[in-house]
Symmetry: C2
């Protein structure tokens, strides 16, 4: 997540210190590894790679110290895989005594395409401060340059801005100290006969691991914060892999501790320098707090968490249900928009209706466990929502759901109604079959988040071959384009698409893209 | 000094550890002060200022925290006078929670003209690494930004490269922690009736103080190292003001400890990370080691220093005298050039001859004190040098010295022959009178170093009014153009001249320019 912004500076938040204390108590242990680059590479045009740029090895990394650089001298270190962590390198001078500082630019890139762009050319709305580039001056050498910030990268480009005409800079011992709260020992990779699926799974695990930090981050390069939409998918992927349930618990408490005064949890929170809720709200994201709690309880029953957070979950449902008419129709508002997907080029009413049904079903399970006296009310509201969906939103002639005043047919409606199990198993299989026949290949969707839900709906509808084919055409295609981790945004019809106008702002390791590990585990392994 | 470069990578140096230990033993105490800016200013066109740029106050510095900045937002802090030290500032965010790092550029400028230039446009030979500009990223706010490097500046320009569309950065408590080994309490400013001379004196004291660091630096902004040519003038200025003789001693030991294998001391040395001689040699600079030692002994007799360094001094003279013919003519070589001045557009043979005479006279004083058995030899060599100068280099018809095969008449020859007292007092007064009448106004000289020697020669020749007029037209003109400290380079006929093609590389506080304090003290006060 990241591609949304609202400014709601009149919203006030509560801070429940007891819940925040529990969030702190579940702060994860961070694991570190020292990783060294294997090769020095150069940027080369490669038509089959993202934006037409790849790399080619020019020397082993051990040759680094034999390559003194002067003004405009440049080299690229390839760490062989995606890394998240802190970078350091030794620098010395050769030639005459060092009669001027060293000025050095370091650029960290997840993908070669980033190195092909000049950062100064970027002028989009997203903050330039995300560009992973530093310029440093060193007054005396030899020195260890240990950059204090955390970067997300596979490649490090060193460019000497200047030495002096009398001496050159030499580099040695580059190393990244990685950081992640994922314990690699905790994963037992399932045996998968299909090598492509195996690779898809592995890249998913790496994506998830690199996003697991002090919280589940959406992307270690950019945004670096906890979004509910990403958290829901990360938690599901975590149960299938690292099983770091304390981290899920921590994140649930963070959201639960800081609702707005009307009770809604924000779409995301910040944790540094202290826990702070963002002023962004999304209808479906607030509801997904319930879904995350329900998924967590299903994986690991936890009475304390239920006790603490059921009231927060109930509040999300109650606030959301205020937007449902007596007839059972969800009525969306502009100031609490439903996300579904980045694209705003399709009608989201029916998908939104499906999301509240999906979540209300999970909530009713929790309400039963809690013996909530209001259970019957929720059940009747669910019935009304489902009845409205079946009678008003499902077009039996087309065999598809329609959305909005123009009765628009779109993929998201079918997918979410399928995931919400509004129709019978046979009916929803027919809906998804019709979707595949009439609405595929998918157009206009650029998020792995939405592709995840499409793939999940195909699996849910029993269309396993279609689901696998989509997974290979989507996540598999990222790998073929050079991905070491899955991307925040990817439109297979327009592989070079960036929502920000430049790959240097794209996050090429993004949490909501890691879900093949969950889908493979749930539908192909278990 | 700075504007010269040689690469002599085949030169080997000795390191006398005993002398280096004495250099370390005389390491100075550094004094610190906390200085805050008084005003926020903006850059404005002012025709009578350097390069046509000045500043205008827009608000008191206390208004800083009321000026939140977003992308491309900019402000300039004016510290009111030249500062050398480390800068820090408090930064916070206002608006929505901070959803992206802060990216901030800081530019430190001694003169407004530097702020008017875009650093990226500079492409000269001098290292770009000297440009006093940093770009930093701060991942979380509030934060204290305490930059680790030392800068030389009066103005600090803060430019927000980016926040995000949702929040702004606010700044407060900017402060510089100054550093200098000059103790301001040690100076008793002479009473000067002429306010212009008083101001010229004060700016000279400030220039000297800001160059007095761990060694006598040539410029705190650029080069930041110990050059013999600057040291000789700084030491003379120091005796007139701060009287920090330990610092002079330290610098003498540094040079004395690290001669090349042929005995010559290098033109400059580095002290960080450890004492290292540069591979640059200049005929006159090596000789000036003697001059500095003699001036030091004249100010403060020091038997230990004499004992330690007389052999080094003698070696400089012996090496230099190898270039003197039996007839008493100095024969310059290309690999050991004489400096005299940056300009290479005049013949330097006669000025060089005068320098060796000037220094040999000082050396003979030292040799007498040491009862050197070779004294008579040096005296006869001096006689030959003087005789050659009088008979072959002085053109009685013109009443001026000539230089080189084309018998060129230039200012430097007259000045150095006057300083060397080659002719009688009456004769040298006539030489300088003729110089003023025929060769003034001076053209083609852009260094305060050479202007110092011209002014000193006028004083030596008793032409006090001419000397004062020149001081006011030269150092006084820098002040009128906006100088808080004196500049490395200044041609009053071309005030905007930069030897580096851009004011952002000029050093506007440079040691060899501080000498009005010495000249005023010696010729107008005592």
């Amino acid at each position: 997540m990241a591609f949304t912004f609202q400014i709601n500076d009149d919203v006030h938040f509560k801070h429940d210190q007891q819940l925040l204390a529990k969030a702190n108590h579940n702060r994860p242990t961070l694991h570190h590894q020292q990783v060294k680059p294997q090769t020095l590479v150069k940027l080369v045009k490669q038509a089959d790679q993202l934006e037409g740029w790849g790399v080619e090895a020019v020397a082993p990394a051990s040759a680094l110290a034999e390559q003194p650089l002067k003004r405009d001298g440049k080299l690229i270190l390839d760490f062989g895989d995606h890394q998240v962590g802190q970078f350091s390198i030794q620098i010395d001078s050769v030639g005459s005594p060092m009669d001027a500082p060293l000025s050095l630019k370091l650029k960290f890139a997840e993908m070669p395409a980033e190195l092909a762009r000049n950062s100064a050319d970027y002028d989009g709305w997203l903050s330039k401060s995300w560009i992973q580039e530093e310029t440093v001056h060193l007054d005396t050498l030899p020195a260890t340059l240990a950059l204090p910030r955390r970067y997300s990268f596979r490649y490090v480009e060193l460019t000497v801005i200047d030495t002096s005409p009398k001496w050159q800079a030499v580099f040695s011992e580059p190393v990244v100290t990685t950081v992640s709260s994922a314990n690699p020992q905790a994963v037992s990779v399932p045996k998968l006969a299909d090598p492509e699926l195996k690779k898809i799974y592995q890249v998913g695990v790496k994506t998830l691991a690199d996003c697991m930090q002090d919280v589940f981050e959406d992307g270690p390069k950019r945004d670096r914060r906890l979004w509910i939409g990403d958290l829901r998918l990360q938690a599901l992927a975590d149960y299938a892999t690292f099983k770091n349930t304390a981290l899920v618990k921590r994140c649930l408490y963070l959201f639960g501790a800081m609702p707005a005064e009307d009770g809604r949890v924000p779409a995301n929170v910040f944790t540094k320098p202290q826990a702070t809720p963002d002023d962004t709200f999304l209808f479906d994201y607030s509801l997904f707090f319930i879904s995350i709690l329900a998924d967590y309880q299903a994986f690991q029953a936890d009475a304390e968490v239920m006790q603490d957070l059921y009231p927060v979950a109930k509040r999300q449902m109650d606030v959301a249900l205020k937007q449902v008419s007596v007839a059972g129709e969800l009525q969306l508002t502009e100031d609490n928009p439903v996300f579904i997907d980045w694209s705003n080029d399709f009608d989201k009413a029916t998908a939104g209706q499906a999301v509240i049904i999906y979540v209300l079903k999970q909530f009713i399970q929790l309400a039963k466990q809690q013996a909530d006296p209001d259970l019957a009310t929720y059940q009747s509201q669910l019935a009304a929502l489902v009845a409205f969906a079946k009678t008003k939103l499902f077009d039996a002639d087309q065999g598809l759901f329609v959305s909005g005043p123009n009765r628009e047919v779109n993929v998201a409606s079918q997918v979410w109604m399928t995931l919400a199990h509004v129709l019978s198993p046979a009916e929803r299989q027919r809906v998804m079959q019709t979707t595949v026949h009439q609405l595929f290949p998918i157009t206009g969707i650029a998020t792995p988040y939405m592709y995840h839900h499409v793939t999940a709906a195909l699996f849910e509808a029993g269309l396993t071959d279609d689901a696998i084919a989509l997974m290979k055409n989507y996540w598999g295609k990222m790998i073929r384009l050079g991905a070491d981790t899955y991307w925040e945004a990817f439109d297979p019809n327009h592989p070079d698409y960036s929502p920000y106008g430049s790959p240097i702002l794209n996050s090429y390791c993004h949490a909501w893209s890691c879900t093949p590990v969950y889908l493979i585990d749930k539908y192909l392994v278990k």
